[in-house]
């Protein structure tokens, strides 16, 4: 029931924060950044850099699924910046508030997730159709599952998955625990993990995954977007496994 509950919980939390955080002093300016959950580690680092450069600003990052955030913003949540994991949810906000174009600041790629050392010798999408390979995919209803289907379509492979997980992290967990032999996830989901390995997907099968960002409030959010798209932000993104356009 995430769809129903979270906007409510989110707005309660935001309202409470509004009462609690001005303790930093009346000259501190609050900057609410609404970011897709997968951007969490990146946003924490950019927040640090931004606050170091702008001591008068207190950045508050609100992480959730892009569709939840978009619904909150359209409903009137006080967001200065929206960083979405897909173009569709950014369009929801742009259409809802009548805003201009967003900037693509990061890209992601799909990988085939396998056990460390790739014991089954999975070399590409073709191997996902092997009868001895237990495959976990994200459900087509969530973005990662939709991308995975596009990728398999380009590869011309018919896969019979054993499970369609509700989010992409659960796909990685299935492989990490060993209940699935392989899955399809984002590169950033496996960067830095020792309990899974990644098999790259060739360019002709790859799917373009774009992350757009928009300053909903240009005067306060603009500088944050500038930092995110600057060389500082790009270096942080690359460390986390994202591509930068």
């Amino acid at each position: 029931m995430r769809w129903i509950r979270q906007p409510v919980v989110g707005s309660i939390v935001i309202t409470m924060l509004a009462f609690v955080t001005p303790g930093c002093g009346s000259d501190t300016q609050r900057l609410n950044v609404f970011a897709a959950a997968s951007l969490g580690p990146v946003m924490a680092d950019v927040e640090q850099e931004f606050e170091a450069a702008n001591p008068e600003v207190d950045v508050v990052v609100n992480l959730a699924g892009s569709s939840t955030l978009a619904a909150q913003i359209v409903a009137g949540a006080d967001a200065a910046v929206f960083a979405s994991a897909n173009v569709a949810q950014m369009d929801v906000v742009r259409d809802g508030l009548g805003l201009g174009a967003a900037t693509v600041f990061a890209t992601n790629a799909l990988v085939i997730v396998v056990a460390p050392g790739n014991p089954l010798g999975i070399a590409g999408a073709d191997d996902l159709a092997r009868p001895d390979v237990v495959v976990a995919l994200a459900a087509p209803e969530v973005p990662a599952g939709d991308y995975a289907l596009q990728m398999l379509g380009r590869a011309g492979v018919e896969v019979a998955p054993s499970t369609l997980e509700l989010d992409v992290r659960a796909v990685v967990t299935r492989v990490a625990l060993g209940d699935a032999d392989a899955g399809i996830a984002y590169l950033t989901d496996v960067v830095g993990r020792a309990d899974v390995a990644a098999v790259p997907v060739p360019d002709d099968q790859q799917v373009l995954v774009e992350y757009p960002v928009l300053a909903i409030d240009p005067s306060t959010g603009g500088p944050f977007v500038e930092m995110l798209t600057s060389e500082i932000g790009r270096a942080i993104l690359r460390d986390a496994g994202f591509g930068t356009p």
């Binding site: 995430r2 769809w3 054993s162 499970t163 369609l164 060993g178 209940d179």
Partner: protein, 268 residues
């Protein structure tokens, strides 16, 4: 018929009314918001039928197994001097307070393909539990059976043991005492516990998705179908929720007709 005197303080109406509102308003709102015009098309899609069918079958199998395992467990806990019986009761009902997702992880830690028992099953029989209908039933059992055990155990604890001892003293064999004295004395608790277990099983979501996964017709139960549908078709999800409420109410009403005399001892 004589008029009964009111024995309750009237002010209790206020909290009782709030409680009724808490339970009824969300259901009423759900029914009001659901797109009834689409009911026909939603009911006839294969996805809905598969999910409803799987939910009914797995929850009924779960309830059956819960009776076979849970009634003996409750009897053992209530009628023997088992050492550590309080601890056993606590352990066997612990899953009621676990977040269901954690319950799913716990099951994976035992029955997953690389977990201690799961690995043996895989090595010896080539059987893998996760991603199967069996996993759905195990997940439901884990979170739902405690409702039967705890209801029955407390009723057995409160029941008068005199008739059992008398029957035994008069020469009745243990099986006969059980069937003709003990179980009939706790019949309403048995029915209530069974219904609670079934209701918890058919609504199970967190442990199922974590342990069993999600595949249409195999492990995608009605709650999982509803959750996924919420991602991109909230209207259909609301209708699915209404269908779930209707299925559960239907079964409960059918049971009530059948069991009302048992529960109320003949009172209407």
């Amino acid at each position: 018929m004589t008029r009964r005197r009111n024995v309750l303080p009237r002010v209790l109406l206020v909290p009782a009314g709030i409680a009724v509102a808490l339970f009824s308003l969300p259901i009423v709102a759900l029914i009001a918001r659901a797109p009834w015009a689409e009911l026909g098309s939603i009911l006839t899609t294969g996805d809905t039928r598969r999910a409803v069918g799987l939910s009914l079958i797995t929850s009924l199998v779960t309830t059956g197994i819960a009776l076979v395992l849970g009634v003996p467990l409750a009897l053992m806990l209530a009628r023997t001097r088992l050492p550590g019986r309080r601890i056993i009761l606590a352990v066997c009902t612990l899953s009621m307070v676990l977040p269901p997702v954690v319950a799913g992880v716990a099951l994976l830690s035992v029955l997953g393909r690389r977990a201690p028992i799961g690995r043996l099953l895989d090595d010896w029989f080539g059987v893998s539990i996760p991603f199967t209908g069996a996993a759905v039933v195990i997940a439901q059992l884990f979170v739902a059976m405690p409702f039967l055990v705890i209801t029955l155990e407390s009723a057995l604890g409160a029941a008068d043991r005199g008739p059992e001892e008398t029957a035994r003293a008069l020469g009745a064999r243990p099986w006969r005492v059980l069937a003709t004295v003990t179980l009939p004395s706790v019949r309403s608790a048995l029915v209530a516990g069974t219904v609670l277990t079934w209701a918890r099983a058919i609504g199970e979501f967190g442990a199922t998705i974590t342990f069993a996964g999600n595949l249409p017709g195999v492990t995608r139960t009605l709650p999982t179908e509803t959750y996924l549908t919420l991602q991109n078709d909230p209207d259909r999800a609301l209708m699915l929720a209404v269908i779930q409420v209707a299925v559960c109410l239907g079964v409960l009403v059918a049971l009530r007709r059948r069991w009302t005399p048992a529960i109320t001892g003949g009172r209407p």
